[in-house]
């Protein structure tokens, strides 16, 4: 028999070792997240999934569920802070949704919609981040990187290639590629890699396929991201 904890007043069953977000997702309750992915070891860096556990904020992707814990997630206070985090990610990089081929399929964008982000609010950093088009099949547009490290984990843990890693520190933290030239074209990366599938934004792109899916049929055109749990949960 499985135990339960309370999430926004709803009893959520969980199995030993499950994190709060895992249990919530399974139960069909959406908690916003960017660096968390059910297939990978939690990272806990984006902080979008922060919830209040017995009154203290903590990342629900790394926090193990425990019987009887009282968790708040969908509150105006927490959502306002999540919105601010999303705004930070928008001003930190160069996110020009209008001409981005991932628009409509982008988890950052969909999450911002979900949180009702009407503007990026802060002053923009407008960093200079050149694209890497050296690979015949894949384009890297670092302008949109949010440092979730999903590609890092996928390449390391699933593909066993370590094509990607984070370098730099603080605000200069950035994605690097496993080649002396620093160019993806000089790595053994392929479209079949798991790392090519996991980017939640528009950094790792299959070349020459942009805008193939019409507006109206894109991932988040039909339903808001909050309804994606039902699929993720399985």
């Amino acid at each position: 028999m499985s135990q339960t904890f309370m999430l926004d007043g709803k009893a959520i069953p969980f199995e030993e070792g499950q994190t709060i977000i895992q249990a919530a997702t399974k139960a069909g309750v959406f908690i916003p997240h960017l660096c968390y992915h059910p297939d990978f070891k939690p990272h806990g860096s984006c902080k979008l999934c922060t919830v209040k556990v017995n009154g203290r904020q903590t990342a629900s992707c790394t926090m193990r569920a425990m019987a009887g814990m009282v968790v708040e997630s969908d509150t105006e206070e927490i959502n306002a802070e999540r919105r601010a985090l999303t705004q930070m990610l928008f001003v930190e990089g160069n996110h020009f949704c209008p001409s981005c081929e991932q628009s409509g399929n982008c988890q950052l964008q969909a999450t911002a919609y979900h949180l009702g982000m009407m503007s990026p609010h802060y002053d923009h950093f407008f960093p200079n981040r050149p694209v890497d088009a050296s690979h015949p099949e894949v384009l890297l547009d670092f302008n949109r990187c949010i440092l979730c490290s999903l590609c890092v984990r996928a390449s390391r843990d699933v593909d066993g290639k370590n094509v990607f890693a984070l370098s730099g520190r603080g605000i200069t933290t950035h994605l690097i590629v496993n080649a002396k030239s620093g160019q993806l074209g000089d790595t053994n990366f392929t479209l079949a890699d798991k790392a090519a599938q996991v980017c939640p934004v528009g950094v790792i792109l299959r070349k020459r396929k942009g805008f193939a899916v019409p507006i109206g049929e894109r991932k988040y055109d039909h339903a808001p991201i909050s309804e994606s749990v039902t699929t993720e949960g399985r």
């Binding site: 984006c46 370098s167 730099g168 603080g170 605000i171 690097i176 496993n178 002396k180």
Partner: protein, 632 residues
């Protein structure tokens, strides 16, 4: 021939030598990178090529680590790499004038490499010389007490390409400045005595047990030496000296009780990453009382059943490395380290020194452990905690230098004795690193419970406006609070005690600290990575006279966000200096709020400068006023 244009072979040769010395062990990445850079002046791509082969790790991992620590350079930085300490105390002592003087006399732009690629000059966070600033690091060797004359001499040496080894020794002299000694700074412990005392506390079977049998076989409390040692620590009420004040005995016991998988061992780590601006007591403890510290570590190892120890020495203290290694070597010869220490069967323990490379966040224990493992110093997700899953997933205790020193004395004199010192909630003494506006900066060791006022009196501080206790992440104490006491029940501290007199602008103090946190944020979590930068920009906006009540509200919102959403203590505390100074020195901020209405953070007229220069225009239409006024 400058090293940084050596042939690949030579670089490869260096890498081979270094990597071999470190047993081709990737967990020594930080050490390997440091030594390669010391030989090559930077970390050239060929070096990374070679390391990749020898260590069998992807180059992304090497570049990722090299890119994290501010003392590692993957671009040439010159043969002489000079970093001026930029703590608020260095500022107060005029470090900027010194830096400008050196820059102009060497014809080099700050942050850039000189045209002849001989020298680079930049800034770094507090180097722990606050009592004898302004200070700098030359190729990570500390030079303190800078004066205009000394700067000119140094410029001359560099111009003449005199090797660092041949620079006058007195340049590198670092004073201890011990102003008030108590049990620690007054200790004359004979190496080994504390261990012998610990041993004497228990019948021999228990001694055997400590390491030869696993704890799971169980031994009733009080029987064995290790357990009785733990009991002494319990009785002493010793709490961590790193600032957080976690009860030492609990940590040690948890580590000792942590199940040990086959082939694994327990680890004792001494946190000597004294990065909190304004703190420098660990520097003195290690340079003058190394044996006391090592003995404390050995006692801890004995108590928890650890066989391997590390000192994580901050990169700024690189100059102490040879001395500390010598002390360790001597202790090995005396059988105070190694196998069957002092003939205690199974009491095996040794200590390695890992030198950091310029990353304040590595003072956080899990980040420190990551760094020890040769990784980027990002704090781990917890639980699990280091006591059960620490260094290479082994049970690990991480304690402050001062904590171990105290532990040694507790082993020697017993817990009761120690508990009798200080106050009810804060046993023992605390070493304060006093600096700033006072006549006698240096180390002051007091039993817990001493008042701020007392310390100010003793150090000769006049007209004191505020004291920043425990550094930027600590608290800012205003004049009306000087009767508060140092102690876990009132003002806990890692030891920094920075004094500001009436002439200081507390806004600038806070701004300096905010810049510090922005520079030291590891970049792992969104709120801290972006938030500290936004906070810095807002403080600069106020500084530039473009501040309005709007920005003030923004600062407070950011503070709130950093505290609630950040991953680790750095983010949680990054706003403390701002919150404190706002609460206690509001006028310093009001003075900065020159605008009534929202004003842009950037200067609109300057934003047209490029176009003006290109067009040669200067007519009225070629300018923009900052409508709501305010100085630029």
């Amino acid at each position: 021939m400058a090293l940084n244009d050596m042939h690949t072979e030579t670089v490869a040769g260096i890498v081979d030598r270094v990597v071999t010395r470190y047993r081709r062990d990737p967990t020594c990445m930080v050490q390997i990178l440091r030594e390669v850079q010391e030989a090559c002046d930077w970390i050239p791509p060929e070096a990374i090529d070679r390391m990749q082969v020898l260590l069998g790790v992807p180059r992304t991992k090497i570049e990722g680590v090299a890119g994290f620590y501010s003392f590692f350079y993957t671009q040439p930085r010159g043969k002489y790499r000079i970093l001026f300490s930029d703590n608020i105390t260095d500022r107060m002592l005029g470090n900027k004038a010194m830096m400008d003087r050196l820059c102009s006399s060497l014809w080099v732009e700050r942050g850039k490499v000189s045209e002849d690629s001989l020298v680079s000059i930049g800034k770094t966070a507090c180097t722990g010389m606050c009592d004898q600033g302004p200070a700098m690091l030359v190729n990570n060797y500390a030079v303190a007490g800078l004066t205009a004359t000394r700067i000119d001499e140094i410029a001359e040496l560099i111009r003449n390409k005199v090797p660092l080894a041949e620079w006058p020794a007195e340049y590198f002299r670092i004073d201890d400045n011990i102003r008030r000694a108590d049990i620690l700074l007054g200790s004359d412990l004979k190496p080994g005595d504390a261990l012998l005392a610990a041993r004497a506390r228990a019948p021999s079977d228990g001694l055997m047990a400590s390491n030869m049998r696993s704890w799971r076989e169980g031994l009733p409390t009080g029987l064995s030496g290790p357990i009785s040692m733990l009991d002494e620590i319990k009785r002493s009420n010793l709490r961590g000296r790193g600032g957080a004040g976690f009860t030492t005995a609990l940590k040690w016991e948890a580590c000792r009780n942590a199940p040990l998988k086959a082939g694994l061992q327990r680890i004792v780590v001494c946190n000597a990453d004294e990065g909190e601006p304004g703190t420098f007591k660990d520097r003195v403890l290690l340079s003058k009382y190394a044996d006391l510290v090592f003995e404390g570590m050995t006692v801890a190892a004995y108590a928890v059943g650890a066989t391997r120890g590390f000192i994580y020495l901050r990169g700024e203290y690189r100059y102490m490395l040879d001395h500390l290694n010598a002390v360790l070597a001597h202790r090995r010869r005396e059988n105070l380290l190694g196998n069957n220490i002092l003939g205690i069967p199974g009491a095996d323990f040794d200590i390695e020194i890992h030198v950091g490379a310029g990353a304040y966040v590595c003072g956080e224990e899990s980040a420190l452990i990551e760094s020890l493992e040769g990784k980027r110093g990002t704090p781990r997700n917890r639980p699990p905690f280091p006591v059960t899953n620490g260094y290479l997933d082994q049970p690990t205790i991480v304690n402050n230098v001062e904590t171990f020193a105290a532990a040694a004395l507790i082993a020697l004199n017993g817990g009761e004795w120690y508990a009798g010192i200080g106050t009810k909630h804060s046993a023992g003494t605390k070493i304060l690193s006093v600096s700033g506006d006072c006549e006698r900066p240096g180390l002051y060791e007091y039993p817990f419970g001493v008042s701020i006022r007392q310390v100010l009196e003793d150090c000769g501080a006049l007209d004191t406006q505020a004291v920043q206790v425990s550094g930027p992440s600590g608290i800012c104490v205003a004049a009306d609070e000087f009767d508060r006491i140092i102690g876990f029940e009132d003002i806990p501290t890692a030891g920094a005690f920075t004094v500001f007199n009436g002439t200081r602008d507390m806004f600038q103090v806070a701004r300096n600290y905010v810049h510090f946190f922005q520079h030291e944020s590891c970049g792992f979590c969104t709120p801290c990575r972006v938030g500290t930068s936004l906070l810095k920009n807002l403080m600069d906006k106020l500084h530039n006279g473009a501040g309005s009540p709007y920005d003030f509200a923004e600062i407070e919102k950011l503070n709130q966000l950093l505290q609630s959403m950040s991953h680790c203590g750095l983010g949680h505390t990054a706003c403390n200096p701002v919150l404190d100074t706002i609460a206690k020195f509001r006028p310093a901020y009001d003075k900065r709020m020159m605008q009534q209405d929202f004003t842009p953070a950037f200067d609109l007229d300057r934003a047209l400068a490029a176009a003006r220069q290109m067009t040669g225009r200067d007519d009225a239409a070629a300018h923009l006023t900052t409508e709501t006024g305010g100085e630029a």
